[in-house]
């Protein structure tokens, strides 16, 4: 892109500069970091001394700037660097930050803002009220387009292998919208209830709140929304695409298969799931005990799928992929899991009484391994009375028996606790690892031990004893589990042995993919898993994809869900003839830095996390769910602890609410290079940070505010409905102004007069007396400087209206119990002694400060700053606007404190020089001659 002029900043100086250059016929690029042009002026109530409405004056200029045919405006963009390009021209690099809203489609209706679930301070109202993460900057914004504030992906969402918008559903629950939270999880997977109970919640491990007093209970909130939805008995309310006429077969109904089937059905494909077991659900149904995941919850989750028309064929084992293809399926997804049990590989493991954990858990979960003493798990879940019948399948009945479970992982823990619930007399847990090294989650081990399971850490099985059936296990000391490279290679001390008598041995020593049926047609890895392209999950057979544990080996539920989502995405693209692009699948922004999140606040109040569920103190005799649901009153405190790390929660409410379909969360930042003839710096000023004068109490005392905050309270688009005290919403009776806060003050490093503070305070005095006729206004000042046409008359007018002017510095401000403020000041007019006065509200007339970051934009070029760090003008008396870099000019308050008329005048001077520079470029010969004949000042 090529422009004659680059104007940085769009306050009154920038707009004036751009308009004048554009009116001269130059092509102008305006870059504004905020979402709207207008700078600070548009936020003011009125201007002095005319008391004209600031909005009425600003908005025509704002609209003219944006709509001028010779001006291109980039809002929400920043110039990141400027370098010289040849003798006279420049190259500028601009970062156009994403708005996440299609501005061409956005109508400015604010529906996104009204539906947004994240509240943050409104910087355009001086942090006195909330705005939303999705917002329009202010009512007069130009362009009046929405923008979504996104700092990045929240850690919880970024950590979820399933791609579930964890922050989003937490924010929805916080906003009192559990049904929408349920639907948000459904965008990823139908297994809301199962994940709400059985997920190991990696999101919570990375929750920023964990840096304070403990993470948000994200998983239990998911269970809350699932329970709330399922209690309604209603089918899921999700948008489903029109039928594509394509058929997809999914082999396996575990987390990966069910998720893929769901995603494919949402995309309009006809899906049929084939499951070899009698009931669908895979490990959810067959592996996870009912005290952690009741069958009824799995049924509810699966009903989401069938509500969409997905067929599930159980007791159907698939061993011929070509037959599926020939049967009319356009694509096949293999998601058969890892249902082949690992073996101990010791003598005696095939004796009666020895069984694999997978077979044992499967029987227990399907309700086939029961005892005379306890109910079948399915019955417990269904809430019916125990049937009291004894059945025994898979060759093992643990009731009254001594059981040895071999293994140290989560499956081993599940097995041991299940055996206990089935009436085992003793349950022993034998693991190679020490207690600390056991792969099972520590809290699960703790709970298991509390239930009465006896751990034998650091032992390996040498053999299963017995002749016709198991009578015990011979153990030997395990001296090391891993070798020096971290590979599993256990070492034993055969001189250190014990015998553990038992009638049942259950081996929980791993799981493997059972892919022998497909080995002839599909390449497999050494461990039996299916070989796929890791990005696309496509196999060598183009129409066959594979996902879940059958690809990765045993994994967490969420990882399998994520695989299922990815596979469905790729299958859909393959069916529709699109390129299989792994990058297109995951559109998450980079995860925000947790320390950066914490540093947004000066401090964080501690909010107690939910207490963990009580550890059972006795051996349970049924499969009742252990973890209680989160109580309604706990939901509020739990969700209030969320820190909104990514700011936008990705709850997608704005997407649903936008009538123009303008929300585009896939937008990304764009770098733009522009060739520029001249640069006009109109970056304005910063307001003095009032808390740098701690004796005045700003930030500590609610009723001490700044002049800009008072201007907002007086503006038509104010944060409140009138001027009120921030501490309690009371109409103030007595209001004090403290002039020269941060100006003419060596203690804060600013000896300069800010020029505007006296006048804006006098303006506010008059406006307050108009708004609150009964209020008393006092101004504590050193000098009142009213230099300008009509300014002194304006001052006298304020005094005539009743404003009291008290000469003398304010020493400090103290707060009373009622929130009133006691000023201690030097009373020069009455002898110079110390005096005190009490007010309802105090306004600090803060001064202005330079914006020195602008100098960093010029790599290799030396942009001079003056001794006060304003942009230096080479000769501000005779050559206003000219900086130390030829071709770069400064307009308005970037070079020193100026009020609005002065900024406009100064901008005129600067652009005149900029135009001359451009003309010299166009006529180089003449220009060179002019330079030679130029008379120095």
């Amino acid at each position: 892109m090529r422009y004659d002029a680059l104007v940085i900043g769009s306050g009154i100086g920038g707009m004036e500069s751009a308009l004048k250059l554009a009116d001269m016929g130059y092509q102008v690029l305006v870059v504004e970091k905020e979402a709207s042009v207008g700078g600070k002026m548009i936020l003011l109530s009125k201007v002095f001394p005319t008391l004209d409405c600031a909005s009425c004056i600003s908005t025509p200029k704002m609209a003219a700037t944006v709509h001028h045919p010779n001006i291109t405006v980039l809002t929400h963009a920043e110039v990141t660097g400027i370098r010289r390009d040849g003798a006279d021209r420049f190259q500028a690099r601009i970062l156009a930050k994403p708005r996440f809203v299609d501005t061409a489609a956005c109508t400015g209706c604010r529906q996104c803002e009204m539906s947004c679930t994240v509240a943050v301070p409104d910087q355009f109202n001086a942090d006195m009220v909330a705005r939303r993460a999705a917002y329009i900057a202010f009512p007069q914004a130009v362009p009046k387009k929405a923008i979504i504030e996104r700092a990045g992906t929240s850690p919880c969402t970024g950590e979820c292998p399933a791609g579930i918008k964890a922050h989003g559903y937490v924010a929805l629950v916080r906003a009192g919208r559990p049904e929408q939270a349920f639907n948000l999880v459904l965008e990823a997977t139908p297994l809301v209830g199962s994940l709400g109970r059985a997920c190991y919640a990696p999101c919570e491990g990375t929750c920023t709140r964990g840096e304070l007093e403990g993470s948000v209970p994200i998983r239990r909130l998911k269970r809350f929304v699932a329970d709330a939805h399922y209690a309604t008995g209603q089918p899921p309310s999700v948008p489903v695409a029109e039928s594509t006429g394509r058929r997809v077969a999914v082999v396996g109904s575990g987390p990966a298969g069910l998720t893929a089937a769901w995603q494919l059905a949402l995309r309009g494909h006809q899906v049929k799931v084939f499951e070899s077991a009698p009931r669908p659900g895979g490990m959810l149904r067959l592996g996870i005990p009912a005290y952690r995941l009741p069958n009824a919850v799995v049924d509810d989750d699966i009903a989401n799928l069938t509500a969409l028309g997905v067929e599930i064929a159980t007791n159907t084992r698939i061993d011929n992929l070509a037959a599926l293809r020939a049967g009319g399926f356009d694509a096949v997804l293999l998601a058969a899991g890892t249902h082949a049990p690992g073996r101990l590989r010791v003598p005696g493991e095939d004796l009666p009484g020895a069984v694999s954990a997978l077979a044992f858990l499967r029987s227990a979960k399907l309700g086939r391994a029961t005892t005379a003493a306890v109910a079948a798990p399915a019955d417990v879940v269904a809430g019916t009375a125990p049937d009291g019948q004894t059945t025994m399948t898979d060759g093992v009945d643990v009731c009254g028996q001594r059981v040895a479970v071999i293994g140290g992982g989560n499956v081993a823990i599940d097995t041991a606790r299940t055996a206990l619930r089935l009436g085992a007399a003793e349950v022993h847990l034998v693991s190679l690892e020490s207690r600390e090294q056991m792969p099972a989650h520590d809290w699960e081990v703790t709970e298991a031990l509390a239930e009465g399971i006896v751990a034998h850490p650091g032992w390996g099985v040498r053999r299963c004893r017995g002749a016709e059936r198991v009578t015990g296990v011979a153990l030997r000391r395990c001296t090391a589990v891993l070798d020096a490279t971290g590979r599993f290679a256990p070492q034993f001390d055969d001189t250190d042995t014990i015998d553990l008598p038992c009638e049942v041995v259950i081996a929980a020593v791993g799981m493997a993919a059972d892919t022998a049926d497909f080995a002839a047609s599909l390449p497999t890895n050494r461990n039996g898993t299916i070989a796929v392209d890791p990005g696309t999950l496509q196999t060598r057979l183009g129409y066959v994809f594979a996902a879940g544990d059958v690809v990765t080996g045993p994994s967490m539920i969420t990882e399998a869900v994520g695989q299922g989502r990815r596979a469905a995405f790729m299958i859909d693209r393959w069916l529709s003839g699109h390129e299989l692009d792994p990058v297109a699948f995951d559109d998450r922004l980079p995860v925000v830095d947790r320390q950066a999140v914490l540093s947004r606040q000066a401090d964080h109040s501690r909010r107690g996390p939910l207490p963990p569920p009580a550890v059972p103190g006795h051996a349970p005799d049924d499969f009742a769910e252990l973890e209680p649901p989160i109580a309604p009153q706990e939901v509020r405190s739990a969700t209030a602890r969320c820190l909104d790390c990514g700011v936008c929660s990705e709850c997608h409410e704005c997407v649903s609410a936008c009538p123009a379909d303008a929300i585009d969360l896939g937008m990304r930042a764009e770098e733009i290079d522009a060739e520029i003839g001249t640069v006009v710096l109109s970056t304005g000023f910063r307001l003095f940070a009032a808390d740098a004068k701690p004796q005045y109490g700003y930030g500590r005392f609610a009723n001490v505010i700044t002049g800009m905050q008072m201007d907002r309270l007086l503006a038509p688009t104010r944060p409140y409905h009138t001027v009120l005290r921030p501490s309690d919403g009371k109409v103030p009776d007595r209001i004090a102004y403290v002039l020269c806060t941060g100006s003419r003050d060596q203690t804060v490093g600013n000896p300069l007069c800010s020029k505007i503070c006296c006048m804006y305070s006098i303006k506010q005095n008059q406006l307050i007396m108009g708004t609150l006729p009964l209020a008393d206004v006092a101004v504590h000042y050193i000098d009142v400087r009213t230099v300008g046409k009509g300014y002194d008359e304006f001052f006298e007018q304020a005094k005539g209206m009743g404003a009291e002017f008290v000469k003398g510095r304010v020493a400090h401000i103290d707060e009373t119990d009622e929130g009133n403020l006691v000023l201690t000041y030097e009373d020069i007019d009455h002898g110079g002694g110390l005096a005190t006065a009490e007010y309802d509200l105090v306004v600090l007339a803060v001064g202005v400060q330079p914006n020195p970051e602008v100098a960093a934009l010029f790599g290799g070029l030396d942009l001079g700053l003056d001794e006060h760090y304003y942009v230096e003008e080479v000769n501000e008396d005779l050559d206003p606007g000219r900086t130390t870099i030829p071709g770069v000019y400064v307009a308005g308050a970037a070079s020193g404190a100026r009020d609005i008329p002065e900024s406009i005048l100064h901008a005129g001077a600067a652009v005149t020089q900029a135009a001359a520079h451009l003309e010299r470029q166009r006529q180089p010969q003449r220009s060179a001659q002019q330079e030679r004949t130029r008379v120095p000042a």
Binding site: M114, A119, V129, A130, A171, Q601, H604, C642, N703
Partner: protein, 83 residues
């Protein structure tokens, strides 16, 4: 009075969870901010943030005219929540 105030960002973030208790407190009629603060058990300064945020987004509105002590009363607004 304000010495133990929380960070503004944290107070404002709580608007989402405080909406329901505030609307419940207003169910029996309009209240001033000090009355609301008593009803929901939170400091008046925090209630100002929540009331003004809810007012901005159409959940409640002020009644005309302050009382003798200088406080306005606020009432809930019938509002259709996003579907």
């Amino acid at each position: 009075m304000s010495a133990t105030t929380r960070d503004v960002r944290e107070i404002i973030r709580d608007e989402q969870v405080m909406r329901a208790p505030i609307l419940a407190a207003l169910a029996d009629g309009p209240l001033t901010i000090p009355d609301l603060a008593t009803a929901i058990g939170h400091p008046t300064r925090e209630v100002v943030f929540w009331v003004m945020g809810m007012r901005k987004y159409g959940h409640l509105t002020e009644l005309k005219g302050a009382d003798d002590e200088g406080y306005f009363r606020y009432q809930a607004v019938e509002r259709r929540e996003p579907a």
